[in-house]
Symmetry: C2
Subunit: 227 residues, 2 copies
């Protein structure tokens, strides 16, 4: 079965957005520092209509984040437009007419809304019946490819607590934001067990890939250790 994968940039103090998020500051105050490793990359600029850019140890990581998934799931806060019922003045996301997804995006919300089809293959579907339903629909739409969990912190916490997240790529940046949205918070018992899979040192960032350790893996590890 296709995997549900998360890629997020996190400050050393655990935040994936700074304090005081707003339409003007979608990543909160200071939150733009979280992506300073990504934005100058050629791999990023190409997918966002830019030219030139750097190639470094983060390049394969960025390519993996930007490609290879067939659908994306995100929380309402990441799609934006404020909380509560959809306003009459239509909010179509932070990404303009041609969002960088180029595949179906499933937005978790309590407020129904018709699908929003934009250019370049990105259609936003608004899912009101829970995270399992969103994952099921995203998997169907992804056609065998992996599904990307886009964020934000709250959506990640829900999938993590439900044991539905297969893989996490956490890009730890050398920044102390001091406040904002904490990625690993509100985790319910039993908390997911993780296995460190890969580490990539790159300029101004450390990428760490984790996989979910399933109960049978835990037992197998123990046997191996006891043997």
């Amino acid at each position: 079965m296709s995997k549900l994968r998360l890629s997020m940039s996190m400050s050393l103090d655990g935040f994936v957005a700074g304090p005081d998020q707003s339409e003007e500051h979608p990543l909160g105050v200071g939150g733009e520092q979280l992506h300073q490793w990504l934005l100058p990359l050629k791999a990023f600029r190409e997918t966002h209509g830019g030219e030139g850019g750097e190639v470094n140890a983060s390049t394969p990581i960025a390519e993996g984040i930007l490609g290879g998934t067939g659908a994306t799931i995100m929380g309402r806060n990441m799609f934006g437009g404020g909380p509560g019922p959809w306003a009459e003045k239509r909010w179509n996301g932070f990404w303009g007419d041609d969002p960088p997804y180029h595949h179906p995006v499933f937005v978790l919300t309590r407020f129904p809304r018709e699908p929003l089809e934009l250019h370049g293959g990105t259609t936003f579907h608004f899912i009101t019946d829970g995270i399992e339903s969103a994952l099921e629909q995203a998997r169907a739409a992804a056609g065998g490819n992996d599904v990307s969990l886009g964020g934000g912190a709250n959506a990640v916490q829900q999938y993590l607590s439900a044991g539905l997240l297969d893989e996490m790529l956490i890009s730890v940046v050398p920044v102390l934001l001091g406040g904002g949205a904490r990625l690993f918070d509100n985790l319910e018992e039993p908390r997911p067990r993780l296995r460190q899979v890969e580490v990539v040192e790159a300029p101004g960032v450390t990428h760490i890939r984790y996989a979910r350790l399933d109960p049978q893996d835990v037992a197998a590890n123990k046997e191996e250790h006891d043997a």
Copy 2:
């Protein structure tokens, strides 16, 4: 001048001790998972009277943590014995008669106490006049070697906020503790700026070394970037 260096194991969700710390659980419940990368190492076992053990990518890291500093500073909570005035039943730390420090250790406390000399070169000095004084005394005692900041979270936060911490080695373990003592919390403005210096991938842990970025370094970086 000799550096003030910190080495701490931190869970992926930012804790350096689990919840409900006690004499029985000095690292809190579940906190022992933070050092699972360290305890099986030959380099660790040798300094703690054990034999055998593993050699892996964490070995040079462990050797760097365990050696090379001439004095240690720690918070009262890390020394232990509960908060408040020293009890009549003398608490001599968690480490027995021959603690693994083998150099002077300066304990930050509000409660005066005579120095405690144990075996193997470890003498605990109890410092009641603040973190700057402790650092000054530790530097003098270290005789040109670096000073190690042992923890816990509260002591680290004080030195970090005061801009006195020169280097941090954070060993990120693939564990979600869900609660306890957060390392990077209560940081005052202006928050310290950091530079990622080195990353070491090792079994079950990612070691990341950070240096303090001084204001002149920030300016120099900017010039380089603008050039």
